[in-house]
């Protein structure tokens, strides 16, 4: 059965808005997770720490270069994910519309490639 990752993408503004009412956001997310569990679709969910505390390893040159801090100049940063197992992409989208996300943020929906699938780009 296909699995989809609902990737939360926040901006500095939306992250700040969420932190301003973090208790409310946590409670809403908790209810959403419970809904997905009761629907039998949730496989995993994690929220990531502050992007400023992240580390980036850049493979652009001869040897990997390690830098502290957020990923490049990207405005929308990966803040967490829900991994769900559902029958169709439409069902994944339906769940994504129910994420209690703060205004200004986005959810990206990506299907998890199965073990027997050719990696993207390697097809002739």
């Amino acid at each position: 059965m296909p699995r989809y990752m609902l990737i939360m993408r926040g901006t500095d503004e939306s992250n700040a808005a969420m932190m301003a009412s973090i208790d409310e956001a946590m409670a809403a997310t908790g209810r959403f997770i419970e809904d997905m569990m009761k629907a039998g679709v949730l496989l995993a969910a994690e929220g990531l720490d502050d992007p400023a505390r992240g580390v980036v390893v850049d493979f652009g040159g001869e040897t990997p270069v390690v830098t502290d801090g957020p990923y490049g100049e990207t405005r929308e940063l990966f803040g967490g994910y829900f991994l769900i197992e559902v029958a169709t992409g439409e069902e994944a989208v339906e769940w994504a519309t129910r994420v209690p996300a703060v205004r200004g943020s986005k959810i990206e929906i990506r299907r998890v490639a199965e073990a027997d699938e050719v990696p993207p780009g390697s097809r002739a």
Binding site: K38, G40, E85, T88, V93, E94
Partner: protein, 418 residues
Amino acid sequence: MDTTDVEAVWRVESARIVAALTRLTGDFGLAEDAAQEAVTEALTSWPRASPANPAGWLMAAARRRAIDTIRRRAALHDRYALLAAGAETAEREADPDGIGDDVLALMFVSCHPVLSREARVALTLRVVGGLSSEEIARAFLVPVPTVQARITRAKKTIAAAGVPFELPPAHERRDRLAGVLSVLYVIFTEGSTATSGDRLLRPDVAYEAIRLTRTLAALQPDEPEVHGLLALCELTAARFPARTAPDGTPILLDAQDRRSWDPAAIHRGLTALARATKRGLGPYALQAAIAAVHTAAPSAEATDWDRIVLLYEALGRVAPSPLVDLNRAVAVAMAGDPAQALVIVDALIAAGRLPGSHLVPTVRGELLTRLGRLPEARAELETAARLCANDRERTVLLRKAAALDFSDKCWRSGIVEA
């Protein structure tokens, strides 16, 4: 919005809508009909104008249909008044626990002992799982009208028996829960070893069972056997990618490429098993524990077969069954004693248990092969092939029987375990 969007919303909402409407009207059959009509309405209306709140739209449409039906039933004036007055109380989504209990009640009604096994399976997939009659028919290889008839009859039976829409009373709870678990397990096994047809696996059916078992585990977190069943399903499904060759031929446990077992599913299965084992092992948890021994082993040879024998002995005590004895025989043979295994199988045959099953001659054939009694082994495998209804399994059995003609290679058993 198109058909697939309607179906997506329906799959997410169906159980809650049917549960809420049943709570509201006290009439399970009416609730299910009204919900189905709402979906039909959505299929024609949404492509023209997408609703802002699709879930709310479906619930409102279903409630309107329910009210219309009750209006038409002149004798039910009182209930209509109640319904009209209590229209706002339908917005029970605000109370997640109430809805959770309603979905649980829906599962208990769908798996009620007044229904036949086929009816329980069809009704559970339809009202709790949100599958259409077409999908259920496809899953079980029966004609669509057969599924529709089963569901219609089931709803009438529930109404005639006056089955209340509520959680079973405390003294019945454990038995009724066991009934729900067995329906989910029937659905899972149909998906994981299709009893008929030309494919060994029907993963979509197995997945539905896992999804419903996860739902039950979320609603009944303190019931160890729910987690035991979930563990069993997850650990079994973890092996699906390795169980068939690209051409659909089954690959037995000992020949599977264990690297293609799904590690995430194994992890989920072991987590569920840990929850199940907190208060002793029931039948599902014991079977999951056996599956867990396999997942921990790098190969069939390096498997802790002695532990598996012990687990089958325990399983035979809590849930005696000839299939358990047969599997125990396989484990005894794998642990190094095919002669003793043959004694167990011959005792099953002498007692007349499992008559007509292809599994008994399959295992007996494997054991005789290991003991070097090849002509007898061949006859057993041919008998097994004759009795087997799954085309793919039959091909494997015939191939094995034929191989015995020119080879005394010892084929290891495992058809039951695969």
